[in-house]
């Protein structure tokens, strides 16, 4: 009788597969909360490094695409909304609502745009990558909140905007047909420009 021996528990890159039936259940349900948080944080940081600091000499360039998660993007979107809301002098809650709505709906619409152009992309993976590419704009918004000089704001926003677009360019352009690359990239640029404009304008 050939009974298949139970394979060892999967490595901790997929902790959410709790009761998959492969051997003893992984102990993510009973581990301390701090361990779970630490694992998610380390994944966020590693994905961030892979997406926002693209290194052409890296040995496994597709790793960020495979290990996508949605905590990082959620955190960055909320952080940007909060920063803009703190910076605003009036109508703070509306500013947060518009910023959050713009970023969340924008990410969904950009992904649908790629899919409708006949590109090949996984919906949540694209949401994840677009969210990670917001990190430079988060840094820019934080700097603009702390120092309220218009010239400095314009310079900082331009630099971070270029950085965000440069980070989003590789995976957006590789997802569609080369003839439609501009059609897929223009909306990404438009969204980042409008977010950058919001950062400059809100004081």
């Amino acid at each position: 009788s050939a009974s298949v021996p139970a394979p060892p528990p999967l490595p901790s890159s997929r902790p959410e597969i709790a009761a998959s039936g492969f051997g003893p259940a992984p102990n993510t349900l009973t581990e301390p909360v701090w361990d779970t948080v630490k694992r998610d944080l380390s994944r966020i940081i590693s994905n961030l490094k892979l997406v926002v600091f693209p290194n052409p000499y890296r040995e496994d360039p597709g790793k960020a695409l495979r290990d996508w998660d949605l905590w990082g993007p959620f955190f960055f979107i909320v952080f940007l909304g909060l920063t803009l809301s703190w910076s605003a002098s009036v109508k703070k809650s509306e500013v947060f609502a518009v910023a959050f709505g713009l970023l969340a709906a924008g990410a969904v619409i950009l992904t649908l745009n790629v899919l409708l152009l006949g590109g090949h992309i996984i919906f949540f993976q694209s949401l994840s990558l677009l969210g990670y590419c917001l990190f430079p704009l988060d840094v820019g918004a934080l700097i603009c909140m702390l120092k309220d000089n218009v010239i400095l704001k314009i310079v900082v926003v331009c630099v971070t905007l270029a950085w965000s677009s440069w980070a989003a360019y590789p995976f957006m352009s590789s997802a569609v047909n080369p003839r439609r690359k501009a059609l897929a990239l223009y909306p990404v640029f438009l969204m980042y420009v409008s977010v950058g404009f919001l950062i400059i304008a809100i004081d």
Binding site: K91, P187, L190, V193
Partner: protein, 251 residues
């Protein structure tokens, strides 16, 4: 039996055996005026059957009107010819209209913010960013481009001149294209210049809409003029509303 007729033809030397098609037996084309253009009749008047066939995009009768490119995006500039609907009848795209609208929202909000910022700073007044501009312009543009074509679709169906809803959305989306440079040019702080820009942009875009719709619904009977006039006025009203709301600065 029909074979009798064909045997006679077959017996003629050097003739091609006729295909048994009853409609084409022994038809000879006389010297028809349809073939010669301009009509070369010596009488100097055009007889009844010699009008050139009406062609879909008017190139037959107006050969020198200037070339038009195949790109849907650029045909928005060709307002005189009303040929946009023919070009996009088979493959209307919604990418152009949607992203033109979205770009317009951003341009409107940013230009209006910039204008109020400059005018407040010049008078050394305190300025606050009005976040409602973004949501207001989003509601206006998305609402206009979805609701007006929908109503027009229903109206056209009622008058039994059906037009596809996607074609109407495409038409309306591209008609808004001219507002992008118009809004950018409205930064200039001269009030009369802003009104001129708004009028010109409104007229151009309304004429584009009217020409394209007229080409389609002339067959609707006498009501077509009302519909086209209504569309024209609505587009002008949009231009006026944009100018009044976005660029009227009260400091």
């Amino acid at each position: 039996m029909m074979s009798g007729k064909y045997t006679t033809i077959d017996n003629q030397p050097g003739s091609v055996p006729a295909v048994p098609d009853s409609g084409h037996v022994a038809v000879k084309f006389a010297d028809s005026n349809l073939q010669t253009f301009p009509p070369s009749s010596a009488q100097g008047k055009i007889t009844g059957g010699s009008r050139p066939p009406r062609d879909a995009d008017d190139t037959f009768s107006k050969p020198g009107s200037g070339g038009s490119s195949d790109e849907s995006q650029q045909s928005g500039w060709l307002r005189r010819r009303g040929t946009f609907t023919e070009k996009t009848a088979s493959n209307p795209d919604l990418y152009g209209p949607f992203w033109i609208c979205t770009t317009l929202i951003f341009v409107a909000a940013s230009m209006s913010t910039f204008v109020t910022y400059i005018s407040h700073k010049l008078k050394h007044e305190k300025w606050e960013y009005d976040i409602n501009l973004v949501s207001w312009s989003a509601g206006l543009f998305y609402g206009y481009v979805t609701i007006v074509p929908l109503c027009l679709y229903v109206i056209l169906k009622y008058f039994s001149v059906p037009a596809g809803i996607v074609q109407l959305l495409c038409l309306y989306g591209y008609s808004l294209f001219v507002f992008i440079p118009a809004l950018c040019m409205s930064i200039v702080p001269l009030e009369i210049f802003r009104w001129v820009i708004a009028a010109v942009a409104g007229l151009m875009s309304a004429t584009f809409l009217a020409l394209n719709l007229r080409a389609h619904i002339v067959s609707a009977g006498e009501r077509w003029f009302l519909i086209v006039a209504g569309i024209f006025l609505l587009q002008l009203a949009l231009a006026v509303v944009l100018k009044v709301y976005l660029f009227t600065v009260s400091v």
